[in-house]
Symmetry: D3
Subunit: 243 residues, 6 copies
Amino acid sequence: MSASPRPSGRAPDALRDVAIIPGFARHAEGSCLIRMGGTEVLCAASVEARVPPFLRNSGQGWVTAEYGMLPRATHTRGDREAARGKQSGRTQEIQRLIGRSLRAVVDRAALGEMTITLDCDVINADGGTRCAGITGAWVALNLALRHLMRMNVLKTLPLTGQVAAVSCGLVGGQAVLDLDYAEDSSADADANFVLTDGGGIVEIQGTAEKAPFTEPQFHELMVLAKLGTRKLFEIQRQAVEAA
Amino acid sequence: MSASPRPSGRAPDALRDVAIIPGFARHAEGSCLIRMGGTEVLCAASVEARVPPFLRNSGQGWVTAEYGMLPRATHTRGDREAARGKQSGRTQEIQRLIGRSLRAVVDRAALGEMTITLDCDVINADGGTRCAGITGAWVALNLALRHLMRMNVLKTLPLTGQVAAVSCGLVGGQAVLDLDYAEDSSADADANFVLTDGGGIVEIQGTAEKAPFTEPQFHELMVLAKLGTRKLFEIQRQAVEAA
Amino acid sequence: MSASPRPSGRAPDALRDVAIIPGFARHAEGSCLIRMGGTEVLCAASVEARVPPFLRNSGQGWVTAEYGMLPRATHTRGDREAARGKQSGRTQEIQRLIGRSLRAVVDRAALGEMTITLDCDVINADGGTRCAGITGAWVALNLALRHLMRMNVLKTLPLTGQVAAVSCGLVGGQAVLDLDYAEDSSADADANFVLTDGGGIVEIQGTAEKAPFTEPQFHELMVLAKLGTRKLFEIQRQAVEAA
Amino acid sequence: MSASPRPSGRAPDALRDVAIIPGFARHAEGSCLIRMGGTEVLCAASVEARVPPFLRNSGQGWVTAEYGMLPRATHTRGDREAARGKQSGRTQEIQRLIGRSLRAVVDRAALGEMTITLDCDVINADGGTRCAGITGAWVALNLALRHLMRMNVLKTLPLTGQVAAVSCGLVGGQAVLDLDYAEDSSADADANFVLTDGGGIVEIQGTAEKAPFTEPQFHELMVLAKLGTRKLFEIQRQAVEAA
Amino acid sequence: MSASPRPSGRAPDALRDVAIIPGFARHAEGSCLIRMGGTEVLCAASVEARVPPFLRNSGQGWVTAEYGMLPRATHTRGDREAARGKQSGRTQEIQRLIGRSLRAVVDRAALGEMTITLDCDVINADGGTRCAGITGAWVALNLALRHLMRMNVLKTLPLTGQVAAVSCGLVGGQAVLDLDYAEDSSADADANFVLTDGGGIVEIQGTAEKAPFTEPQFHELMVLAKLGTRKLFEIQRQAVEAA
Amino acid sequence: MSASPRPSGRAPDALRDVAIIPGFARHAEGSCLIRMGGTEVLCAASVEARVPPFLRNSGQGWVTAEYGMLPRATHTRGDREAARGKQSGRTQEIQRLIGRSLRAVVDRAALGEMTITLDCDVINADGGTRCAGITGAWVALNLALRHLMRMNVLKTLPLTGQVAAVSCGLVGGQAVLDLDYAEDSSADADANFVLTDGGGIVEIQGTAEKAPFTEPQFHELMVLAKLGTRKLFEIQRQAVEAA
């Protein structure tokens, strides 16, 4: 790994500055604002004492997510999805991904018949919003579950581990970690990795933006992702302790 | 004015703590986060070099607004309007009000054929979100116009004054200023006043929530509104200077 | 009050010719066609023996309204909202206003768990349709409630009074009553007043269409509104007696 | 033809009382209220100086229709289609039928590149609303075209004849003309006939509501339809002359 | 009947080649692919053990239909209705027709409280898709009902007969049977006949595409329709036996 | 690789029977029906001589895809998306994937300013529909491009290679190739691989359905995918030659 400097001056294997500020949404059972460089996502966990029809009387809970982007989170203003009357395919794809990622570390039987909805709303966008959403949502979820324990609704924390996500990509022939918008738009390929602190893979989404990429390149990206998420797990733990 | 203490302990004619933090939306030409007690609204101004069809070739600009509330801005989670596929009547009513209010202090001929869209997104809601939106939107608008002046797009600031808004209400028989959610839900009447620093009335919306109210009561509310907006004008000016 | 003659030749404090024809919608429990000059609104009250979820088992009834405009009620044909697939913000704002106005004079506990829906459909539009809708809807509501008394569903009339509405405005510097379309489009300010026969204020909506207006101007408008609604209350009573 | 008396006491071959009142929609280029017994439909013709894309530069005009029913036109209140956000299949089927029927008697080359939209809105419904709509729409269209002649937009009337419609049905084994709602709901079969004053067939829609019907029965219905429309053509002519 | 040869070279009273291939939709309780010349429609019958609200506790079943066209079933690609977000008026009209036609030969009391949905999806379109849909749907329905008999859900086949449909039209002055797309687009009039094997009429829809047509012309079309459906009934029976 | 037999009796590295039948959609410029075991997808390529706004005057073409599933393609009938009024998140995710996958092997400059839309409609579903869609869409695209060459619209084939897709998964602890529905619903993890005949990776989507999976497991899946797509490339070539 070498060469062509990144627009931000970061080393190829450097995350952007990451901060997780717990408690940003005052009414939510758990919440945080996660900041990864110029990207800011507000993650809020809401608890409801009911489950979707397909889980009724199953004794199992549900975790789901919704994703949105404020119209002026981006460089030029985007349409407000509520005004347009429907969510884009991109939005739906992202919120399905966030929900699946969180469910992978939840013991839904231990949760019981409750639904936790994670709202991930992008306040400022500079690349990697879906990954920031997953990483922040885990903190919001954790805080909401701890709240339920304090309320004596839960006896134990129904989490099997931590989950975090990071994007990696091939930019100018080089594998780099945690793409910002400038890199993302010029990448030859990018991949989002959703990993657990136990070393497990929850989700991999790799896409060739221009030409197909090779298996060795893909492995380089995975090495970076493991490195990056290791740091994110540490920051998640600090945020939860600080809350 | 006397008697029954407000839930917050405020005097009947006291505003909540107000703060206006400029620049919260990094990509917007002008923006601020306005905080009025537990209510926080992110206001972002976006400039486009085109006008709606009815103004083409008129030499006049346009100012409009959109309003939204994050699903967990409130005590219990609300539906995401984008997911439901339409904006509620309440949302549409509010965004029409914000747009009208701002236009009342804009010299649209001096602006020229540009559109400025004010996005007011409620991050945390504790009553008075539409009034906070108007007061904050004026700051975002002002900052965006100053940006256009620095860019040499505008020679002069196409504003004829300041506009700010505050709610007043009759709670437990007493006229009070700047209702929070607890007061708003128990008020006998409430009224939103949109006023200019020149003493003009831009919009008045008074509603009897329970029984009809009287003219003298209505005048009491207006006195409070003039008092409250006077302070808001000062805070707006400080925010613009600080930016 | 003096000077510049109104397009219609009316005195500044003169209503247009008003007629309320009861029974226009044959199937409705109560209905009327209200005509204010060139404006005609068909108001129909429909009774259902159930309430919205938030009132179930509360012992209280509900009164709500829907508003529509036939596509060719106006000078040039407008889109049919059903074809466009959604109601405009203006439509929603108006129907919410009509519902609130009527509820202000209904004793919902005395009504019991029934819903009355007021449909206000504009057949011909020449300004002031929302005010005509409120004034006519009260008659339709009253007739529907009397029908329920005749059917022995209600023992007493669950109304605490009359409600009527009128628009006033500043046109060419002069305060005038009951604006028609020509005046409405050239007004500097206009205000809708929803008042009760007991002298109470139910709703005030004042809007500066061009420049802000002053408090004394606003009071002039209110004086006219009280004058105008006094006449409307009389016409409402005659219509109910005639039915 | 004999026997079982109709609920209304009419002879099997008797139309209901028919009245066509021209000019009901004040702003429309042509309009009428058509009343057939308890059914009332407001028909308004709107002229626009443009055609749909598929006719541009063809030298041909277009005639189309929209249909609606006020929520309380019926015995029990129906949903407002604008509120529900879409037109029912029934509504679309009817408005397509009305448009086709009118186009069958319009010389679209003589009309030139203009669009005439016929709005048929049901004020009170007691069966046969689509037929009343067609019969009334022809009058509204005729009046609009005459208006265009008076304005010197058209030199000649671009109509090739009259068109009117009536429903017939098999009720209790008997063929009857012009079904009201009570008959319509109990009919074994019903058929709508859209015929021209020249004896031509524009549209036939016959439907077995219960069991299939026979060819001779179908011919009986057609005999009645010719009889009924003959009277409607006369009433249409009187209405046009009266206007 | 003579003269001007049809584009396909068929005799005026000749159907196109018809084939009905049972079992095309592998999961459906009954299905077939019907091919009429270049038109191919996949018909699938789905059984559910519940009825719409208006039939609950009536002891009666329901039969309904949905219709769709693959975007590239036609000469130029059409919009995907799912992407556009609504079904066209034409689609709704056709699916209502198919449902009514099938119900005319179903003994809904013998069916009991079940719903059978017929999905008719056009794979390739060359005219007459709604008629092919009805003819094929009867086969799919029949097969689904036989499946229910084999499953001991039904004791007897709740069908009162066969139903099939064919279009006829006036093309170049001549009455012809079973129009293909080329004929359909140039026809002066066309009519769809839905008939039963017992000689009954279920539905007739005749439309003048250009000028009105005459009664004798209409009778000519009906003669052809009876001839055509007689052949279709035979092909339906063969398909059911082959299954 | 060993052990627990697959429900279908296939070896872990065996594809289902695959057939690609060219020309199924008669009007499309290129089309095929691809069958992979019980899954059948109709792929049709439509050519239009225009590009989306963001590519106008770029000299580059566009390739996009739409995906749908017939309501009764599945074991129990699903809602028709056109009737429900919107496409599910799953549908949008899949059609975005198909479009991206095809674009990865298209030389869009060589294509020029044309759009090719691939419609992938599932006739019968038994797992792996998105992968079958991609593999079949490449054939339809290829045939459409050859058609454009025969029409002298293109001089050369603007394809840089073949693209095909296959799903792999961990079922009962074993890595298996080309999951059918039974395996898909019980898999611990599944991954879709979109690969090129040149050995490149276009897209990888791996998802832990239950617990996270490991890197070695992921590599096993990739080995299978390369094996499977090698066979699919061969079948694609045969289909194109046969056409």
